[in-house]
Amino acid sequence: MFIGFGLFFMVGARNYRLGSAARMGPAYFPTMLGGLLAVIGGIVFLRSLVAKGEKVAALPLRLLFLITLSLLGFGYLLQPIGLVLALALLIILSAWAGHEFRLGEVLLLSVVLVLLSVLVFAKGLGLPFPLWPKFPG
């Protein structure tokens, strides 16, 4: 429950600060909106204090972490290690986040998806992805 409150408050406060700190001119519109949002955020926050809502369950941290990590890994490693390896990493990491993890199945899935992606995106649509790691020299 407190996670929920904290977040809402943060969203409201963050926007308020942004709104007020900006200069006039280009800042006119955002300031107006920021103020409005802060007010509404405050009301929502106060109401949630009064009302006895259900508890907001804890976030599935492991899941969030793994999915995010798999995506970021893909994004930042694509250029250095190439499409094939980056994709395999994405698939294996994200599959690991699920309930069941069957190694054989995931490996097979990786092979199929990587092949498909290479064919469709790199060859078919001609997107400029490096396929393999660039070895020095």
Binding site: L59, P60, L71, L72, S94, G98, L109
Partner: protein, 502 residues
Amino acid sequence: MDLQFLHNLSLGFVVALQGSNLVYCLIGVLLGTLIGVLPGIGPVATIAMLLPATFSLSPVGALIMLAGIYYGAQYGGSTTSILVNIPGEAASVVTCLDGYQMARQGRAGPALATAAIGSFFAGCVSTVIVAMFAPPLAGIALKFGPAEYFSLMVFGLVAAIVLAHGSLLKAIAMVLLGLLLGLVGTDVSSGEMRYTFGIFELTDGIGFVGVVMGLFGIAEIIANLEVKEAREVFTSKVGRLMPSKEDFRRMWSPILRGTAFGSALGILPGGGALLASFGAYALEKKVSRYGSEFGKGAIEGVAAPESANNAGAQTSFIPLLTLGIPSNVVMALMIGAMMIQGIIPGPRVMTEKPELFWGLVASMWIGNAILVILNLPLIGMWVKLLTVPYRLLYPSILVFMAIGVYSLSSSPFDVLLMAFFGILGHIFTRLECEPAPLILGFVLGPMMEENLRRALVLSRGDPMVLLTKPISVGFLIAAVILLGIVLAPAIRRKREEVFVED
């Protein structure tokens, strides 16, 4: 119904029947049906995923294909609702109620046929509605100045808030947050950077596709992974397809009502297929003579929402094509697609690119016909697809999303954005905040600011300009009334009733 109308439609059919466009239409509706069948991926994520790929297509082809995905998904969703009690797509949740019951009574065939007939009928009618109402509306819109546009957008956003699920306050907060996010980047009038925190990639604003995929695609996957996989596939025998005479007798008026209701809702901002099907079901339950049979396999409970969601899906193109204002998230994506092609959505599209406009309209009708012809025989195949376990499905979805987003600008930044908004989206679902109003605000934010500024420049800083122009004040009053209605206690209860019924 003058000659001009026929001339326009024939132009549309000529465009839509061109070989390549026909193929795109076919691809679109097939893909749409596919993702409609598969739970865990909806039209929003799919269209967002395909946006980068439409670079290479012709503008007409791209729009035809994306539109096909949207209404194709409505078809696909109904199939799985009826056969396996799994709504493949949010708009067909209510079809489960009676459709699945019909299937359990061995009447899966007639239920599927009813859904198809209803959808097809609604598709035909709403195509005509689009063709008839769009040109006059666009004519009016051409006369709009910045003040009118600003007020219209205020009205649109208020409508989106009113029609969102859950808490009003939260919906308002989401719209505002969306508007603010939309302002990130280079300020159009002064060229100054706003809220970019010195990050180079943010100078062009926050990437739209990344935001949508994160909020809808990634968040959806996380939500699905949280609950344990418990999916049973019950393949009932489809049986004979043709509904009986009695069925036909009972189905036609719900189809008519559903179509009318869905068409009306589709035009409203914030409406579209989802709301249309829920509303139509509730309405039908009230007015039908067979109201007590609802939930136990009443054919009306399939006919009405299925017609409504298809009608709503198509008429939601009207505000997009005439005013350049999206009425729901899918339409916001269509704006993105048009921008990619260098087309500025709005009333001018119709006069400057008639082949695009009428081609799209005609393709909707063709797409619907393809759906009816293709879908009934292919049902078996779609059902088989359901046996693919989610643990194999979601990494595949992630792969396509990651590659799609990455290829937008060939930089990891968009992937980062997507991941960030995925987490944010998950937190929003936890807090029962709907992401849809945020997206609408996000798209409209820059447009609203620009129009407000221009209006104020023209009036030399006098904000009364919004209240002295008749059309502008009309929209604002309508927005206030709308808010007032929702806040009124009686309607409020009603609204909760409608939304709880799922």
